[in-house]
């Protein structure tokens, strides 16, 4: 008689998966770079394109790498949160200006404020690809050994900052 129950059992199992699926965001793809060394880069600085900056120089420090662009709407949403974080001086924020025009980027910072310790220019998006960036903004937390410990896909929200990023940074700084 169990054979007539089989379709029902299969369906209920399926329903459980669908229920779990409902609470997941299919657009969020976890980075395979998590807990792996952050890809090295050597990029010009936005403030002074003549000078370049190597990621190795961040060894021994915990830092945030925030990928942004002036054409990116969602970057505006997270900007106040980043400004607040910068004021608190908990952790240095390095900006990766992704596929942007220098002039536009500078104007944008002028208008909305500049939370960044330094901004690096990724004009052709190469470094973005190395970091697996697929939607701007994205934010990485990188530890003293240069390992990526956390990746925020999409805008950094107050909530993500308080519950995840700041506790993690404090932990890493110990």
């Amino acid at each position: 008689m169990t054979k007539f129950l089989l379709p029902l059992i299969l369906f209920l199992a399926l329903a459980v998966f669908l229920f779990i699926g409902l609470s997941r965001d299919p657009s969020e793809i976890p980075s395979p770079l998590l807990d792996k060394p952050a890809p090295a880069f050597n990029l010009p600085q936005l403030a002074d394109p003549q000078r370049s900056f190597k990621s190795e120089e961040m060894r021994g420090k915990v830092w945030l790498l925030n990928v942004w662009a002036s054409w990116c709407e969602a970057c505006r949403d997270e900007h106040p949160v980043l400004l607040e974080l910068a004021r608190s001086r908990v952790v240095p924020i390095y900006g990766l200006n992704y596929k942007d025009e220098r002039r536009d980027a500078l104007n944008w910072l002028e208008e909305f404020g500049d939370p960044y310790t330094m901004i690096l220019v990724d004009a052709d998006g190469r470094v973005g690809i190395d970091y697996g960036v697929y939607g701007v903004p994205e934010t990485f937390v990188i530890d003293r050994n240069g390992v990526i410990r956390y990746k925020q896909i999409g805008p950094v929200t107050e909530e993500a900052l308080k519950n995840r990023i700041i506790p993690l940074v404090k932990e890493l700084q110990k």
């Binding site: 657009s27 793809i29 395979p32 596929k99 998006g125 690809i129 190395d130 697996g132 697929y134 939607g135």
Partner: protein
């Protein structure tokens, strides 16, 4: 659009001259052979921004960047396998429209064929048992059977 319009104006001015240039159209890609190989590979990669499109067909800027990335790596002599490894290292298995065969995808890859095997076996057992049961329940002599069949026709 505006660019198209100005081009149009230009084209109209050059119309008579243009006809005299008639020649074989050049392929869009500098290296059609490499382009073909790139597209074949990009057909199997998922565009991350636009979701259900392939990197080959998507118009998203990231897809264009990744196509360029593939071209470069191909020019540098990388194999298709190496390029796929490059992609998955950055974007995870999510970029692959053909999921790799590994422990977590065994069900996906072998499930259908296991199901088919199970279905065939189940069908065979069912038919055999069913026949046995029916023979037990409604035994007919050969003569009876023939008569019934004649009555029922082939139908």
């Amino acid at each position: 659009m505006r660019r198209a319009l100005s081009l149009l104006a230009l084209l109209l001015c050059l119309w008579p001259a243009a006809l005299s240039w008639a020649k074989e159209a050049q392929p869009l890609a500098d290296d059609p052979v490499l382009e073909k190989r790139m597209m074949a590979l990009a057909e199997n990669l998922r565009c991350l921004v636009c979701r259900n499109e392939t990197i080959a067909s998507s118009h998203a800027p990231l897809a264009a960047d990744l196509r360029e990335q593939i071209r470069e790596q191909m020019r540098a002599g990388k194999s298709d396998q190496e390029i796929l490894a490059f992609m998955t290292a950055r974007y995870s298995d999510y970029v692959l429209f053909r999921p790799p065969v590994k422990l977590t995808t065994y069900l996906l890859w072998f499930g259908p064929f296991v199901l088919l095997g199970g279905g065939v076996v189940a069908q065979y057992l069912y038919l055999k048992r069913r026949r046995e049961r029916l023979t037990k329940e409604q035994p007919l002599s050969e003569a009876e059977r023939q008569r019934v069949e004649a009555l029922l026709g082939d139908g």
